[in-house]
């Protein structure tokens, strides 16, 4: 057993309100620079939708991630042979128009225009060329446009749905969508690292953060192709690639990353998980239907004495082990069994987990059949004719006939296995039923306990889930292991010290100095 620690995250999608505060916090700190304007290390996209860059999930276009090659795996669009032969011109590289051309407005014209009959206007100009331009695309251009033909219908995940299911889904298009905030997953089997010909990208052993050494990157652009989540970006000004650094200078100082700290919906949790690095290769090569299970199996119980002993033998600090024991991520992913990785079939073993959204799934939408039909009194009404039914009369009815095909969520979170999504959504529902029994009281104890039992939860566990979902304070949501000061000094060397700097770690030898 080779126990290592990884800073891992959970995003609770039911709580995301799509406010983009996280994106702005990140941009203000890290990517508000020339060449990086188009980069959103954190972005929030509306699902169903094409996302950013457009259709990033479609690996037939972008050739990202790993694919099974015999018993082993290989990079789909990069790697030693493909990477070096395509080094002069990478046929699988997204170009800036796949993201959007960054722009600003000529605000000065508003002030400096001579007096005239017309209002002066601030025309949009390209941030690349400085020329006036027509804006065709922008950050979260597809926000809330779930029903639109340009975005929702081009979502690559819809391929797994039958035409009828698609049609049914789009009938509800105006109400059925959810937000998917995305950052770099700091994967255990990062495709970006494996694809870098220069060896500039590396995973930090101590906490698993994946960084690009800006001094070693030579702009071969293979990581942009290889990352299936399109979370490495090419800076066209500096000729180097950049990516989310998980705010490691903040983490080392004990602060939550900026996106998480600022999250309005408090959907984000961060903590340490311990994993068995010996299993890495086997897990990454697992059969597609085993991928999620084996990835979750790789995460170790931080209270298990054997695991603790192995962790200590590996040089892990006690404080890190302690942080792992209090990790909200471990609770959500393993104890509660409520979170899933995004697109596990890309085989990078992402370490950002999502609690799938219940709300777009839960309710059903029915039309009054005839005048005499009684609409359920505890259900919300759309209007007099339509029923937006969130009733709990029939326990799982709304999930089993959900308006949002579970196949869609399964294509996002479980490589197509609807059962995995269903059990998690049912758990969300069960906790709601249980809380309703507790607070409103119109559901009997028996029914509430029946609901919990059916999904393998107990009342104390449901209380914990409720607490961590709804009441958790800052220190419950972010359990950050102390970066030991002597290490922190080394790690912080060369970090940008002011806004606009390149705030990156440099893969240089750590010259020893006394404290």
């Amino acid at each position: 057993m080779d126990v290592r620690s990884q800073i891992s995250m959970v995003f609770h999608l039911d709580k995301c309100i799509g406010c983009h505060t996280c994106s702005i916090a990140c941009k203000n700190i890290w990517s508000d620079r020339k060449g990086a304007e188009y980069m959103w290390w954190n972005n929030v996209e509306t699902k169903p939708g094409t996302g950013y860059p457009g259709k990033w999930e479609d690996q037939l276009i972008y050739k990202g991630g790993w694919e099974k090659q015999g018993d082993d795996i290989g990079l789909k669009g990069a790697g030693k042979r493909k990477g070096l032969t395509n080094i002069f011109h990478n046929p699988n590289l997204p170009v800036i128009d796949d993201y959007y051309e960054p722009f600003t407005y000529k605000y000065l014209d508003l002030i400096e225009s001579p007096a005239g009959d017309d209002q002066p206007t601030a025309r949009p100009v390209s941030l690349i060329t400085g020329e006036p331009m027509d804006i065709k695309m922008g950050p979260s251009w597809d926000d809330d446009l779930s029903g639109s033909p340009d975005y929702a219908r081009n979502d690559p995940n819809l391929a797994s749905l039958s035409p009828e299911e698609q049609a049914a889904m789009f009938q509800l298009e105006r109400m059925a969508f959810f937000y998917l905030p995305r950052i770099c997953n700091h994967c255990l089997n990062p495709a970006c690292v494996a694809s870098c010909p220069s060896g500039a990208i590396y995973k930090r052993g101590e906490d698993g953060v994946v960084l690009i050494n800006q001094d070693v990157c030579r702009g071969w652009r293979m990581c942009v192709t290889a990352c299936p989540y399109k979370k490495t970006y090419y800076n066209w000004q500096t000729g180097k690639s950049e990516k989310c650094i998980l705010c490691y200078p903040r983490i080392e100082a004990g602060y939550a990353p900026a996106c998480m700290h600022s999250c309005v919906g408090r959907i984000r949790y961060l903590g340490v998980v311990l994993y068995d690095a010996d299993k890495l290769h086997d897990v990454a090569c697992a059969e597609e239907d085993q991928l999620v299970d084996s990835q979750l199996d790789m995460l170790l119980d931080p209270t298990d004495p054997e695991v603790i002993a192995a962790a200590k033998a590996n040089g892990m600090a006690d404080s890190t082990i302690k942080a792992a024991q209090g990790s909200p991520v471990y609770r959500f992913v393993k104890e509660f069994g409520m979170a899933l990785p995004l697109h596990p079939e890309f085989r990078t073993l992402p370490m950002l987990f999502y609690v799938p959204p219940l709300l777009p799934v839960m309710a059903s939408l029915g039309k009054k059949q005839n005048e005499d039909q009684e609409l359920n009194t505890i259900a919300k009404r759309w209007d007099d004719q339509w029923l937006y039914d969130t009733s709990t009369e029939d326990l799982w009815g709304t999930i089993d006939e959900s308006r949002f095909p579970l196949e869609y969520l399964a294509s996002l979170f479980s490589a197509g296995d609807t059962e995995k999504v269903k059990i998690r959504v049912k758990k969300l529902m069960a906790v709601r039923i249980y809380r309703r029994h507790k607070t409103v009281g119109d559901i009997s104890k028996e029914r509430a306990e029946e609901a919990l039992a059916e999904v393998g939860l107990t009342a104390p566990l449901a209380d914990d889930i409720y607490y961590l979902t709804s009441l958790a304070k800052f220190d419950d949501r972010f359990v950050i292991p102390p970066a030991h000061r002597e290490e922190a000094i080394e790690m912080l060397e060369n970090t940008g010290d002011r806004k606009g700097n390149l705030g990156f770690g440099f893969k240089e030898g750590t010259a020893r100095r006394g404290l």
Binding site: L93, I96, K240, K312, A317
Partner: protein, 242 residues
Amino acid sequence: MTYLDTLLFVALPYVAIVVFLVGTIGRYTTAGFSITSLSAQFLEGRSGFWGTVPFHIGILILFLGHLFIFLFPDLALLWNSNPVRLIIHEGIAFTFGLVVLVAIVGLLIRRWTHPRLRMVTSPMDIAIELMLLFQVVLGCWVALGYRWGSSWFAADLSPYLWSILSLSPETDAIAAMPWVIKLHVVGAFIIVLIFPFTRLVHFLVAPLHYLWRPYQVVMWYWDRKKIRRADTAWQSTRPHNN
């Protein structure tokens, strides 16, 4: 030997080599951040394929060909001793010269006409591209006009270059060359001279070590096994990579 010859074929080479060595090593060690391919593909898209790929492949073959004759002049002379083989040799060199010529012109036009690319083009980029263009034109000229040019290179220029490297410059042979070849040699030294200050430096960091490296790179800031032992905490151990 005129003063001009001494200037161009003794002074210039030494200045070029010294500047090259000091410049590249200095830039690599103190300004590693500035060493990159500066690829513009991201701003341009798929069409660049037709300029970039022929240019790179062509110029690599030409460079390796020159390097080979420089290193093994006898082998080159042996090959060239048969006129048919000589023509084949010169033909190949000329073909790739033409490929590079067309590609460079294409790349120059692209840089000039593409508004986004103009924004990421520095005067030095244009300067080095024009220098390369100049060299390729002269090279093609030599291949076409002096079909035994490659034998000259092997018989006369390679010894001249070796004489420079062994610090006992012999310029008689080169002084007797046609001016086209002289210009080609001077151009080469000028490129060596300005090399450290151009984007060409990415040639020196070609990532061949990728072939031997394991795919995943994990960096430890401390030796994890030693950090917890009091007696080793402050010893100087290099962090390891696995």
